[in-house]
Amino acid sequence: MTLATDIALKPKDFATDQDPRWCPGCGDYAILAAVQRALAKQGVPPHEIATIAGIGCSSRFPYYMATYGFHTIHGRAPAVATGLKVARPDLQVWVATGDGDSLSIGGNHFIHMLRRNVDLKVLLFNNRIYGLTKGQYSPTSELGKKTKSSPQGSVDNPFLPMSLAVGAEGSFLGRSIDVDAKTLADVLAAAAAHKGTALVEILQNCNIFNDGAWDHLSSKEFRADQTILLEHGKPMIFGANRDKGIRLRGLRPEVVTIGEGGVTLDDLWIHDAHDEDPTRAFLLSRMEYPQFPVPVGVLRSVQRPVYDALVNAQVAEQRAAKKANLQGLLNGRSTWLVA
């Protein structure tokens, strides 16, 4: 019944007849297109995929995906998706969520999904603002940000989503910018292939309420100098001239220029996405503008037991070990007869 082996899937096979209701110019359009391309390339047909979302602009995502889909309630997509994945491990389950949805109202479900390592592909649209409610600061908005609900500047210290995810035992952490189609495609492909919770933070522009929030990273002018594309097993090099790199001094990363002060390629931090120890992933998650280039690509990808697989394995083991006998179950340990 799988079509993939016979007929190549196209991105439009994943598009519905519903017109997206995002604002013109929203970064979500690029993300939708990238996901549809990634799914077509992956080759799993639409009926074997479910897309689950919470509430927010990004959470409209399921309506535009020709898969099974569920637009749930604010913050709860990871919980709904967990139940679905446990019940239906045969489906590939994607979660679309935003910074308010998963880091504020749904923070609890977000961390517990990560620690359990449920086999879910999670798209975290981070635009550092509440868009659907028209412009309040979010848990990723920078300190001092002026919004409708913070006219003198926000006094809420923000989360770094990737740091939170490392602390929550995340097994796969990826990051891309909405307009960086190449990196986004690569990260989505890696996330799709990962067994366990694959979290992809997408730095997304809200052109209405927080326009340009990521310009320092996304514009062609700055991208090469202010982001660093992580590649497993390779030295961490960045810059328009590919002459800068990251060196680790103990547990302290620093920016160095290759060829200056005796620095060679051999001195650079070699990215190991599969390092079981989360310490370096945490260091990567702390690399922030302007002190450091912001890492994009796959920050961490390690294998550890997957929740839904463990649950279903226990069910299979018990079924193999014991014979289900409903009448015996109802009878219990001791009965008596009334004649």
Binding site: F70, T72, A79, G83, V315, T335
Partner: protein, 622 residues
């Protein structure tokens, strides 16, 4: 074995006995009580139990806060309640006496562990003088037993520590009361062998102490009589077992899943008094049960909703505070019209309230406690055994009508055990999940996820993973039929009406209301939930005195039975006793505009037969 040996002492036959065990929560009172009730059930008695335990797991030893009680009613006739007051009270320390003396009938048998009535314990229980010695217990038949010393004497030479010896003393007390009431000890001995299978020394010690308790009754001059409660004769034939409400709920749902050919998903967060449902399900994986111990109540129901979307029989269970947290997600299940069973084991509220005590004050919460027009069916179990049938029915309705269903029980039903006539699995109805599982079934028509069945108004339950049936659902208002997002004003009106009409249509499923007594008269006592037993007992007693009193109990609270209005109108007075401030009575007054009377006591304890008899007499014509 001594426990089946005949006795040289005279016996007195009693029709029924209520015995209450009380001690520190570490004294094994619940275990002692449940073993006595199991032995009584095996002896052919009808039984009903009421565990009355503290919220604290191990409050400081000897304090009032730490007192745990277990009341058992066993009889040679059909009984419906654990009894208002005890014929026999067994107390392990002064605090247990102080907390439970009020439950002992005048001239009742009081068995006290005299060793524990020391200065420190007396002080903690608030006694200035030792009540065993100051004459204040003259109204009772007092038996002072040095349980600790006698247990210690029985275990001379076993090499056990003082603490280990102390832990055996509840078996001495159990052996003594087994002798006193002619119970067969085989079951207790089997249980001791099972429990201490890996600790042969403790196994032998506990058996020794249990026998010593029995022999003490037989050989000392203290007890002149034994009491016999013969097997009940008026119980319907069949195979019986003892069951508590929480286990019955779990078994009813597993049976429903089996009859529907579905796997079962249970999402829950630990909460008193509902956690035993989670524990039971966790041990039933070979029946296709998956349990999800969630990070919170919200995740528990949301995961269940995800599993319902994935075509499993989805269940979430909790108590009142958990329902408060689940409310938004209950609305999502209403909106997405997915099958879901929501179990609420009610406890005392509001807020944290009385976690280990019983109450019925969540009825209005489950009926109305959500944003928007959010109707859902509500059923209530009346007893532990009835919880099986009610749970099965809740699941059947959820699946047939594609609707979240609330099943109400309460702390008394959840933990109280009663004999249960085991149903024959083959006799349970088959449930057709009627999944839309093949695009060919659409006959070339477009998929309409909100197309309604004419009779039930149910929408299709679409098998996920089926090619050509991909569709999207969610919490935003739906277009009729297509299920697409809609903000159309008239469509919203129509959908609000459709969701209500679907719940109303379930009334067709409700069997005629059963009346105990005549179809007309002076008073109809109308109950829901756990007051059923006490109310029916009180009504039977008054009927025996020739009073024109009848009783009915409601399993269905939404929708209400279609015949109910006509029944209520046939009585001069309708009296609704509830362990709340008058919730069903509000619903009935609003539904029927009838003048209905209420009786309420909200103390965390079950309603008693005596108080209901008084309440009925108060509204009878003089």
């Amino acid at each position: 074995m001594t426990a089946s040996a005949t006795s040289a002492k005279p016996r007195e036959v009693r029709d029924s006995v209520v015995i209450r065990f009380a001690g520190d929560s570490g004294d094994g009172i619940q275990l002692t009580g449940s073993q006595f009730s199991a032995a009584s059930a095996l002896a052919g008695n009808d039984t009903a139990t009421f565990p009355d335990y503290p919220a604290e797991i191990r409050a400081p030893t000897g304090t009032l806060a730490g007192v745990s009680g277990f009341q058992l009613h066993f009889a040679s006739r059909d009984i419906l309640t654990p009894g208002d007051r005890a014929d026999v009270l067994v107390v392990m320390n002064p605090a247990a006496l102080a907390a439970n003396r009020k439950w002992l009938k005048p001239n009742g048998i009081l068995i006290a562990n005299a060793d524990a009535f020391q200065a420190k314990n007396l002080r903690m229980a608030g006694y200035a003088e030792n009540p065993l010695e100051d004459g204040s217990l003259a109204d009772y038949q007092l038996f002072q037993i040095d349980l600790s010393r006698l247990t210690n004497d029985a275990l001379q030479g076993y090499g056990l520590s003082a603490k280990e010896v102390e832990r055996c003393k509840n078996y001495f007390a159990l052996g003594l009361v087994f002798w006193l009431f002619e119970r067969n000890g085989d079951l207790v001995e089997d249980e001791i062998r099972r429990k201490f299978a890996t600790k042969p020394l403790l196994l032998e010690a506990n058996l020794k102490v249990f026998h010593a308790g029995w022999d003490y009754g037989e050989n000392t001059e203290l007890f002149a009589l034994r009491y016999g409660v013969p097997a009940a004769q008026d119980i319907a034939p069949g195979t019986y077992r003892s069951i508590a409400g929480n286990e019955a709920v779990a078994l009813g749902l597993v049976a429903a899943a089996h009859k529907a050919g579905l796997e079962l998903f249970y999402g829950s967060y630990p909460i008193t008094p509902a956690s035993d449902i989670l524990h039971t399900f966790a041990g039933l994986k070979e029946y296709g049960v998956r349990t999800f111990q969630a990070e919170d109540e919200i995740a528990a129901i949301c995961a269940a909703i995800g599993a319902a979307y994935g075509n499993q029989l989805a269940v979430t269970g909790t108590s009142g505070p958990g329902i408060a947290l689940k409310s938004e997600a209950m609305g999502l299940a209403v909106m997405t019209e997915l099958p879901l069973v929501i179990v609420n084991v009610q406890r005392g509220g509001p807020s944290t309230g009385l976690p280990t005590k019983t109450e019925q004050a969540d009825l209005l919460q489950v009926l109305y406690g959500r944003n928007g027009e959010s109707p859902l069916p509500v059923l209530a179990a009346r007893s532990a055994g009835d919880a099986f049938d009610t749970a099965f029915e809740a699941a059947r309705i959820a699946i047939k009508y594609r609707v979240p269903v609330v099943l109400l029980t309460d702390g008394a039903i959840a933990n109280g055990a009663e004999p249960w006539k085991i149903p024959d699995v083959d006799s349970l109805p088959t449930i057709d999940p009627n999944l839309l599982d093949d695009a060919a079934k659409l006959d070339g028509q477009p998929l309409l996820p909100y197309l309604r069945e004419p009779e039930t108004l149910a929408r299709p339950w679409i098998k996920l993973g089926t090619p050509g049936l991909e569709h999207r659902i969610g919490g935003i208002e739906k277009w009729e039929k297509t299920g697409h997002i809609s903000y159309d004003p008239q469509n919203h009106h129509n959908m609000v009406k459709a969701r209500q009409a679907k719940v109303d249509a379930i009334a067709a499923e409700i069997s005629p209301t059963e009346l105990a007594g005549a179809a007309q008269g002076d008073v109809l006592v109308l109950t829901w939930g756990s007051p059923y037993g006490a109310a029916l007992t009180a009504v039977r007693e008054l009927q025996a005195q020739g009073r024109a009193v009848s009783h009915a109990n409601l399993r269905w609270l939404n929708p209400l039975p279609p015949d109910l209005r006509a029944i209520l109108q046939k009585f001069r007075v309708v009296l609704v006793p509830e362990i709340n401030n008058g919730q069903l009575v509000k619903v009935l007054r609003a539904a029927y505009a009838l003048d209905i009377q209420q009786y309420n006591r909200i103390s965390g304890q079950p309603l008693t037969v005596a108080e209901l008899r008084d309440a009925i007499v108060a509204v009878l014509p003089h």
